[in-house]
């Protein structure tokens, strides 16, 4: 398979004098390219075969006189079945191949480094856990799985890194995520892939892949005074969350120690997992999914906190009760 791939790549590149695919810079890029080249070969083969057969029939059976009468040809059921079932089998093969690849690519490894992305018209803000912030640039270390948790401040955007073969819509009001592991050093563009307004075509940036040591150095030298979660801790106190959700002993308000990752029961009987989206929803629209056993009286903070601050708060809430101190993520 690998030999076929490299042969095909070289042949096409030589023939066309330019590459047919973007740089292959992530762990999945090669696998996506294999499937792509298989599909290309399959498509070209069938298209040209059909063209060739048509051309052959058109020439061999061309009309020689206006009165000629063609020979009768009966429909062959075995032939009909063959050209129904064989394409179906090929489709099934391709489906299973692409599904297994997709399924594997959909789950980030457990030890992924998390980076947060906020898209807005028409720029990208990227934030590392230690608080380092970038605009339209993303520094990442080589050979380390990175999980991007993303949201939008306004319309639907889309984060696309062609060299890594990853893409996902970035939605307002919720979090979506993708993950990748870079395998090449260098600079690789990322772009917005969902029509978002006037400067959609300029909403781009660069992923800069560095050696792990260089990255660690970059990260610490760009770290602000506070990590995300310590910024979050300050906001948590400033907005008054502490009084109900940490200090209160009356039992009237849900206590947040250790809440992240737990399953909770909602008032309508359903269960929900407390992930980033749930926490965000609880802050912004608290009475949408009220918890069982508590009366809904939390005020909404919609409009008072922007998406970046929400991510800081969530980063802090994740540390509550887990034994981790706020700035241990530095």
């Amino acid at each position: 398979m690998i030999h076929f791939f490299h042969f095909g790549k070289t042949l096409s590149a030589a023939w066309l004098l330019f590459p047919l695919h973007p740089p292959t810079a992530s762990t999945i890029a090669h696998r996506v390219d294999y499937l792509y080249y298989f599909l290309t070969a399959f498509t070209l083969f069938f298209t040209f075969s059909i063209f060739a057969v048509i051309l052959y029939f058109m020439i061999k059976y061309r009309r020689r006189s206006d009165d000629e009468v063609p020979e009768e040809v009966k429909t062959s059921i075995p032939l009909e079945l063959a050209w129904t079932l064989i394409p179906a089998a090929i489709c099934a093969f391709i489906f299973f191949w692409s599904c297994s690849l997709f399924f594997r690519n959909s789950r980030p490894p457990a030890n992924s480094t998390e980076i947060f992305v906020v898209g807005k018209q028409w720029m990208w803000q990227l934030q590392h856990a230690n608080g380092a912030r970038e605009i339209d640039e993303l520094h990442v270390p080589l050979h380390v799985p990175i999980k991007l948790t993303m949201t939008s401040e306004d319309v639907i955007h889309d984060f696309f890194v062609p060299a890594f073969r990853v893409k996902e819509d970035v939605l307002p009001g919720r979090y979506t995520s993708i993950w990748f592991q870079a395998t090449e050093l260098g600079t690789f563009p990322f772009e917005c892939a969902q029509m978002c307004g006037a400067l959609h075509s300029s909403m781009r940036g660069e992923v800069i892949v560095m050696k792990p040591d260089d990255f660690a150095h970059w990260l610490s030298s760009n770290a602000p005074a506070q990590t995300m979660s310590s910024t979050g801790e300050q906001l948590f106190a400033h907005l008054g969350c502490v009084s109900c959700h940490v200090d209160d002993t009356s039992g009237r308000y849900p206590q947040l120690a250790g809440v992240y990752g737990r399953q909770v029961t909602l008032r309508n009987g359903a269960r929900a997992a407390v992930d980033e989206s749930f926490i965000r929803g609880a802050i912004v629209n608290p009475n949408a999914q009220p918890l069982a056993g508590y009366t809904a009286s939390m005020p909404s903070f919609q409009g008072q906190i922007d998406e970046v601050q929400l991510l800081d708060l969530i980063a802090y809430i994740k540390t509550l009760g887990s034994g981790q101190k706020a700035d241990a993520l530095r």
């Binding site: 008032r267 309508n268 009475n287 949408a288 009220p290 809904a296």
Partner: protein, 222 residues
């Protein structure tokens, strides 16, 4: 161009493009059934969206539903059911050759009941909602809990009942036109398919209301 001349004795006119009368009658009925299927998809999209939001925001929707008066909704349901009955009786009267005045009377009652429905809806319900500041986009101002979801509920309430009311208005117009044609002697036991086809439409409008009533008025148990 095909011409439909008024005939005597309620004989149908065979349009020139149909092979024979049964084909013409069947074509018109099939046409109305297909039209009603498109209407099911039309209302269906709206019902599907409503259902999704009701699941998500049930407390707010219950609040909103309690702000509606069930008695008017129930009366309107009865009004429409009776109007479907009178419509069916009108068709039956034509089928068995009753006098014109009987048919016109029944069609008239159908139309009047339709107007009663609209009066209850617009004057007794919508106007009251307007006075209570419950119309989204115009004067919505609700002080209770889940206000934004109550507003969403009322948006669906006005859109769904408004779309339905538009269909009722069109139906009333057609029923009145049929009354006029009956008076002109257009229908007879040999030819009453326009009445049947209109009846199908009227029953459909009735059925849509029968779905709307519990969906909007009876959430959360009353």
């Amino acid at each position: 161009m095909s011409e439909s001349a008024v005939t005597q004795a309620g004989r149908p006119v065979l349009e020139q493009h149909f092979a024979d009368l049964p084909a013409q009658e069947e074509a018109r009925k099939l046409g109305m059934w297909i039209f009603l299927i498109t209407e099911i998809l039309f209302f269906g999209g709206l019902f599907a969206t409503y259902t999704i939001y009701r699941e998500l925001y049930l407390p707010g929707f219950i609040q909103g539903s309690h702000l509606l008066e069930v008695k008017w909704g129930a009366i309107n349901t009865a009004v429409l059911i009776v109007s479907s009955l009178t419509m069916a009786l009108a068709i039956r009267s034509a089928q068995v050759g009753k006098r014109k005045s009987a048919i016109i009377g029944l069609l008239g009652i159908t139309a009047i009941l339709g107007v009663v429905f609209l009066c209850i809806k617009f004057i007794l319900e919508w106007r009251t909602d307007y006075l209570h500041h419950l119309v989204p986009g115009i004067n919505f101002d609700y002080a209770g809990p889940h206000a934004s979801h109550v507003q969403l509920f009322f948006l669906f309430y006005f859109f769904m009942t408004g779309l339905h009311a538009l269909h009722v208005m069109i139906g009333i117009g057609v029923v009145l036109a049929l009354s006029y044609l009956t008076w002109r002697g257009r229908f007879s036991p040999h030819y009453y398919s326009p009445l049947e086809v209109t009846g199908l439409y009227w029953h459909f409008v009735d059925i849509v209301w029968i779905f709307l009533f519990p969906l909007l008025y009876l959430i959360g148990g009353r």
